[in-house]
C-alpha cells in the first residue's frame, strides 16, 4: 500500500512540474494581451489553491487509510458531531472563496469595458465561415477553412496547421484597442482566440461586444467554440497582427482590391463565357461553398440537405434557380449567396449545378442573366449595389457625407452598411417607408428609438448636428434619393433639445 502511495505521489509531483512549466501543451496559454496574462494568472492561482486544499484533505484521508486499518489492529473511535469543527470547515473555505473572488471580479470588470475602441470590426458567423467587416473603412470579406479535403479524408499528408488555416486572415494592428461586434446569420457560433482570452457567442439577431489589444505582432489561431452543426469542427479563426505601418500598407492594398473587384464585376456583365469555362469555375465554387451540405456528388444528405442532382430546381426554370442561390430560402439552412460570391462566380456555380452529375440541361448562365433575371426584384437591386460604386453618390450634400461616418459607427451594426438590414432581424432602411416618408416620423424614430425593439433612442448619444447628418444620409443613400436635407434645428423643433 505504501508503495502505491509513493507511486501516486511521484506522479502528482511530475504532473505538477509539467503544469508549473508555464507555456506548454498541458496548460492554458499565457497569450499576448494584458487581459490574457491576467486570466492566466487567475487560472494558476486558483489551480494552486485547489491543489493545496486537495493535498491537505486527501493527505488526511490517505493517512487514515494507511494508519487506521482494521488489518493493522485499529479500533474504531466513537466520536461524532462537533459544531465547532463544522463551523470551522464552513468558515475557512468562505474566506478562501473571498480571496479568489476579488481578483476575479477586477479582471472581469476590465474585460467587459468595451469603450474607447480605436478600430471596430464586425464579425458575422454563418454555417461554417466567418465574415469580417471593417467598419472604419467600409469593406469586408469571408474567411473559410483552407485545409484541403484530401487531408481531412486522409488521402494527403496533414500539414502543420491542419484545420487551423483559412483562405483570408483577419488582420488587425498591434497595440490598438480593437472592438469586435459579434453576431450570426443562422445558428449560434462562438468566436474564440485563446491567445487573446476572447471567447464570445455569436447569436443570430443580436450583437455581442468584445475587445482586445494585442501586444505582439504575429499569427494567432482559434476555432468556433459553440456546436453549430455538421462542420462545427471546420471553421477556424486566424488573426494576423501587424505593426501599424504594415497594417496601413495592408489596408491600402485591400481598398485597391475592392476597387478592382468592382471593376471585374462590371466587366463580367458584358462578357460571355463558354460552358467549359463556366463548369471549371463552377466546380471550384461548388466544392468550396455548396458541397458541405449538398455533397460533392450533388446527392445531398437525405432528410437533412436536399439533392441537386436530378432536382426540380436544377432541371427547372433558370430564374427560380438563380433566385434560390442568390437569395437563399427563408427558414432553412440555405443561405443567400449573392452577398458572398461575385456575379461571375454565381453564374458559374448555377451553370455547374445545371450540367453536372447528369443534370445536362445544357444551360449556360451568364453574369448578365442575373441582373436581367426577372425572377425576383431583390436580385436586381443586390447586383445594382455591387455596381454603383460609392454608397453615397456625389450629388448629395457634404452634410450627408458626415452622416455616413455617424451611420457606420452607430447604425450599420444592425441596419448594415448597405442599408439592407438583416431580413427578419433588423429592418432595411433602403426603400423603407420611414426613410422615404414623413421627415418628422423619421426624426422621432432615430431620436427616441422604438420601445420593445432593439432600436435605441440616439438623442442622448449623438449631437443634434450628428442626428441631422445621419438622418439626411439615410434619406439619400442607397438610392433613397429623397433629396431631403435635415438640419439641427429640425431635430430640436421635432423632439426638443438633447443633452
Amino acid at each position: 500500500m505504501q508503495k502505491i502511495i509513493k507511486i501516486f505521489a511521484t506522479l502528482g509531483v511530475v504532473s505538477l512540474a509539467f503544469v508549473a512549466r508555464g507555456e506548454s501543451s498541458f496548460n492554458m496559454t499565457q497569450g499576448v494581451t494584458d487581459i490574457s496574462h491576467r486570466v492566466y494568472d487567475l487560472h494558476m492561482t486558483i489551480l494552486y489553491i485547489c491543489v493545496a486544499i486537495g493535498v491537505v484533505v486527501f493527505g488526511v484521508m490517505f493517512y487514515s487509510i494507511v494508519k487506521h486499518r482494521k488489518s493493522s489492529g485499529a479500533k474504531a473511535a466513537q466520536f461524532h458531531e462537533s459544531t465547532k469543527v463544522e463551523l470551522l470547515w464552513t468558515i475557512i473555505p468562505f474566506f478562501i472563496l473571498i480571496a479568489m473572488a476579488i481578483p476575479a471580479t477586477t479582471t472581469l470588470i476590465e474585460m467587459e469595458d468595451n469603450s474607447k475602441a480605436d478600430i471596430t470590426i464586425k464579425i458575422t458567423a454563418s454555417q461554417w465561415k466567418w465574415h469580417y467587416q471593417y467598419f472604419d473603412h467600409d469593406f469586408g470579406f469571408f474567411s473559410l477553412l483552407a485545409t484541403p479535403s484530401e487531408q481531412i479524408k486522409n488521402k494527403a499528408t496533414k500539414t502543420t496547421n491542419y484545420l487551423l488555416e483559412v483562405d483570408r486572415h483577419l488582420v488587425i494592428p498591434v497595440n490598438k484597442k480593437v472592438r469586435f461586434l459579434i453576431t450570426a446569420d443562422d445558428v449560434i457560433h462562438a468566436w474564440w482566440v485563446p491567445a487573446f482570452a476572447v471567447k464570445q457567442d455569436a447569436n443570430p439577431g443580436f450583437i455581442n461586444e468584445a475587445w482586445t489589444r494585442v501586444n505582439e505582432p504575429g499569427i494567432y489561431r482559434g476555432q468556433c467554440a459553440e456546436l453549430c452543426g455538421k462542420d462545427h469542427g471546420f471553421m477556424p479563426i486566424v488573426v494576423e497582427v501587424l505593426s501599424e505601418v504594415d497594417y496601413q500598407q495592408w489596408l491600402k492594398g485591400q481598398l485597391a482590391q475592392v476597387a478592382r473587384d468592382k471593376q471585374a464585376e462590371q466587366q463580367a456583365l458584358s462578357s460571355t463565357v463558354t460552358l467549359e469555362e463556366s463548369m471549371l469555375l463552377g466546380k471550384t465554387v461548388y466544392d468550396g461553398r455548396c458541397a458541405a451540405c449538398h455533397q460533392q456528388n450533388g446527392q445531398g444528405i437525405p432528410g437533412a440537405f436536399p439533392a441537386i442532382k436530378g432536382s426540380a430546381i436544377a432541371l427547372g426554370d433558370v430564374n427560380a434557380h438563380i433566385d434560390i442561390v442568390a437569395n437563399g430560402k427563408a427558414g432553412t439552412a440555405m443561405q443567400a449567396f449573392s452577398a458572398q460570391l461575385s456575379s461571375k462566380e454565381l453564374a458559374a456555380v448555377i451553370t455547374y449545378e445545371r450540367n453536372a452529375w447528369g443534370n445536362d440541361t445544357g444551360d449556360v448562365v451568364q453574369a448578365s442573366d442575373l441582373v436581367q433575371s426577372n425572377a425576383n426584384d431583390s436580385i436586381i437591386e443586390k447586383f445594382d449595389e455591387k455596381i454603383v460604386t460609392p454608397a453615397v453618390a456625389e450629388k448629395i450634400e457634404p452634410v450627408a457625407r458626415s452622416g455616413e461616418a455617424v451611420y457606420l459607427a452607430h447604425c450599420a451594426a444592425c441596419h448594415q452598411v448597405t442599408g439592407a438590414g438583416i431580413p427578419g432581424a433588423f429592418p432595411a432602411l433602403k426603400g423603407s417607408p420611414i426613410a422615404l416618408g414623413d421627415v418628422s416620423l423619421h426624426i422621432i424614430m432615430v431620436a427616441n428609438g422604438k420601445p420593445g425593439t432593439a432600436m435605441q433612442g440616439f438623442k442622448n448619444q449623438l449631437t443634434a448636428d450628428e442626428l441631422a447628418a445621419v438622418i439626411t444620409y439615410e434619406r439619400n443613400a442607397w438610392g433613397n434619393d429623397t433629396g431631403d436635407t435635415v438640419v439641427a434645428s429640425d431635430i430640436e423643433s421635432t423632439v426638443g433639445g438633447n443633452k
Partner: protein, 533 residues
C-alpha cells in the same frame, strides 16, 4: 400510521392465495407492482442503457483516436455525442437512482412497499418506450438528434433534422416517468415511515432522495416546456427562440439551464446518500455529522436554482449578472466541502476495511472532489471564457458524473447485492473490476483537462495536430474503461445465479433496517412495522 399498516396486512393476507412468492414468467415483470421487482427492472434497464450509451462513446473515441475523418461522418458524429449524452443522463444515471430508491427506500424506512405501486409500474414501463423512440430516430432519413444533448435553438429548431419531433416526444415521456417516480418517492417518505422513524432518523440515502425528488418535481416541467417550445418553433411557426419573429435564442439557454443545473444535482445528491451509508459501514464508526449532512444537502439543492447562468458566461450577459452567478456558484463549494470533510472525518480513527463498495466510495470521494475543483475553476468567469466549451468542461463533468454518480451507483450495487440476491458477489472479481475501472477512467478523463487548456473545443469530430497524442491516450483509456465494465456484467450475472450464501447483515459495521431482514429480502418486506430504536 399503525392503522394503515394493519389494513395493509389484511390486504396482503387476502391476496395470499399465491403466497408471498411472485408469479412466474414474463407477465410477472410486465404487471408487477412490487417495489423490489420494479427496482430490479429499473436497474437492469439502466445497465442496458449504460452499455448502449457506452457503445456510442466508443464510436466517438474511435473517431477521435487520430486526426482526420476515418470511421464516421461529422453529421453522424454529432448524433453520437448527442444521443450518448441523452442516454447516459436520462437512461443510465437517473433510472439507476430510481431503481435504488425503489429497492431501498421502503426497506430503509420500514414501509411494506412504495405508496403508489400501480403508478410505479407505469413510470417504469413508459421508459423503454421513450428510449425506443429516441433510438429509432437514429435510423430515420436525415438521422437522429445532432444538436448536442443541450439542444440549443435555433440549431435544434430551424436547422435540425426531420426526426426532431421524435426527440421531443421521447424527452416528454422520460420527463413524465421522472415526475411520476419522484411523486412516488415523496409520498412514500412522507406517509409510510414506520412509527418512530422521524425525519432526522432517516438514513441519508432517504434524505438525499427526498430532496432530489423535490428538485425533479420542480424542474422536469421546465424541461417539458422547453422541448414543447422547440416543437412549436420547428413545426408550428412560433418564434420563442427565433430573433426574426421577436424571440431570443439566448432565452432558450436560460430556460434550459434553469432545468439543467438542478438536473446536475439530481444526478449527484443520491450519490451523497450512498457514500454516507457505505463510508461509516467500512470505517465501523458513525457518520461524523449527520445533521450537517442534511443541511448541506438542502443548501446545495436551494443554491442549484440560482446558478444556472454559469453555463452561459459567453452569451453576452451584463457584468452584474456575470458577477452574481459567479459568486453564487462559488458558494456551492462550501456545502459540498462540508460533505467531503465529513466523510474524511468519518474515516479518521475508524477501523477501516476495503471491500469493493468501500474502494468505489473512496475513489468517489477523491475523484468527485477533483471534479469539484475544476467546477470551482469554471465558476471564475474570466477564466471560464478560456475553459468554456472546451475539453476542460468535458473532463469536469465526466469526473462528476462518471467517477461521481456512476462510481457511487457501482458502490451501491456491490454494497446491497447480497441483500438483493442472497448471494455474496465475487470479491476478487469485484476488486479487479474496481482497479481496472479506476486506472482506465483516469487515463480516459484526466488528459482531457490538458486538451481543454491547450485549446481543443468540445463536440468536434476532427482536431488539429497538436492534440493528437493526448487524444490517442484518451481513446485507449476509453476502450479500457468500456471493456472493464464487462467484468461488472460478469460479477452481476454470477452473483444473481449463485455464490456464497449471504447472511442478513454481511457487513460488520452496517446499520439500518434493511440489514435486519433476511437476505435475499423477502418479496414483501416489513409487513408489520419494525421497531425503531
Amino acid at each position: 400510521m399503525t392503522d394503515a399498516t394493519a389494513n395493509n396486512d389484511q390486504t396482503l393476507a387476502a391476496d395470499d392465495h399465491h403466497g408471498h412468492q411472485p408469479p412466474k414468467g414474463l407477465m410477472r415483470w410486465v404487471l408487477t407492482t412490487n417495489h423490489k421487482d420494479i427496482g430490479t427492472l429499473y436497474l437492469c434497464f439502466s445497465f442496458l442503457m449504460f452499455l448502449i450509451g457506452g457503445a456510442m462513446a466508443m464510436v466517438i473515441r474511435a473517431e477521435l483516436y487520430q486526426p482526420g475523418l476515418q470511421i464516421v461522418e461529422p453529421n453522424f458524429f454529432n448524433q453520437m455525442t448527442t444521443v450518448h449524452g441523452l442516454i447516459m443522463v436520462f437512461g443510465a444515471v437517473m433510472p439507476a437512482f430510481t431503481g435504488l430508491a425503489n429497492w431501498l427506500i421502503p426497506m430503509m424506512i420500514g414501509a411494506p412497499d412504495m405508496a403508489l405501486p400501480r403508478m410505479n409500474n407505469w413510470s417504469f414501463w413508459i421508459l423503454p418506450m421513450a428510449f425506443t423512440i429516441l433510438l429509432s430516430s437514429l435510423f430515420m432519413e436525415g438521422g437522429g438528434p445532432n444538436f448536442g444533448w443541450t439542444f440549443y435553438a435555433p440549431l435544434s429548431t430551424t436547422y435540425s433534422p426531420d426526426s426532431t419531433a421524435l426527440f421531443v416526444f421521447a424527452i416528454h415521456i422520460m420527463g413524465i416517468s421522472s415526475i411520476l417516480g419522484a411523486i412516488n418517492v415523496v409520498v412514500t417518505i412522507i406517509n409510510m415511515r414506520a412509527p418512530g422513524m422521524t425525519y432526522m432518523k432517516m438514513p441519508l440515502f432517504v434524505w438525499t432522495w427526498l430532496i432530489t425528488a423535490f428538485l425533479l418535481i420542480a424542474v422536469m416541467p421546465v424541461l417539458a416546456a422547453t422541448v414543447t417550445m422547440v416543437l412549436t418553433d420547428k413545426y408550428f411557426g412560433t418564434s420563442f427562440f427565433e430573433a426574426a419573429g421577436g424571440g431570443d435564442p439566448v432565452l432558450f439557454q436560460h430556460i434550459f439551464w434553469f432545468f439543467g443545473h438542478p438536473e446536475v444535482y439530481i444526478m449527484i445528491l443520491p450519490s451523497f446518500g450512498i457514500i454516507s451509508a457505505i463510508v461509516p459501514t467500512f470505517s465501523r464508526k458513525k457518520l461524523f455529522g449527520y445533521s450537517s449532512m442534511v443541511y448541506a444537502t438542502s443548501s446545495i439543492a436551494l443554491l442549484s436554482f440560482v446558478v444556472w447562468a454559469h453555463h452561459m458566461f459567453t452569451t453576452g450577459m451584463p457584468v452584474a449578472a456575470e458577477l452574481f452567478f459567479m459568486y453564487c456558484t462559488m458558494l456551492i463549494s462550501i456545502p459540498t466541502g462540508v460533505k467531503v470533510f465529513n466523510w474524511v472525518a468519518t474515516m479518521w480513527r475508524g477501523s477501516l476495511t476495503f471491500e469493493t463498495p468501500m474502494l468505489f466510495s473512496i475513489a468517489f470521494i477523491v475523484l468527485f472532489t477533483i471534479g469539484g475543483f475544476s467546477g470551482l475553476m469554471l465558476a471564475i468567469t474570466p477564466a471560464d471564457f478560456q475553459y468554456h466549451d472546451t475539453y476542460f468542461v468535458v473532463a469536469h463533468f465526466h469526473y462528476v458524473l462518471v467517477t461521481g454518480a456512476i462510481f457511487s451507483i457501482m458502490a451501491a450495487a456491490y454494497y446491497w447485492l447480497p441483500k438483493w440476491t442472497g448471494h455474496m458477489y465475487d470479491e476478487r472479481l469485484g476488486k479487479i473490476h474496481f482497479w481496472c475501472s479506476l486506472i482506465s477512467v483516469n487515463v480516459l478523463f484526466f488528459p482531457m483537462h490538458f486538451l481543454g487548456l491547450a485549446g481543443m473545443p468540445r463536440r468536434i469530430p476532427d482536431y488539429a495536430l497538436q492534440f493528437a497524442d493526448f487524444n490517442q491516450l484518451v481513446s485507449i483509456g476509453g476502450f479500457a474503461f468500456g471493456l472493464s465494465q464487462l467484468i461488472f456484467l460478469v460479477v452481476l450475472v454470477k452473483c444473481v445465479r449463485g455464490g456464497e450464501k449471504a447472511p442478513a447483515k454481511p457487513w460488520e459495521g452496517a446499520e439500518g433496517l434493511e440489514w435486519e431482514m433476511p437476505s435475499p429480502a423477502p418479496y414483501h418486506s416489513h409487513t408489520t412495522p419494525p421497531e425503531i430504536k
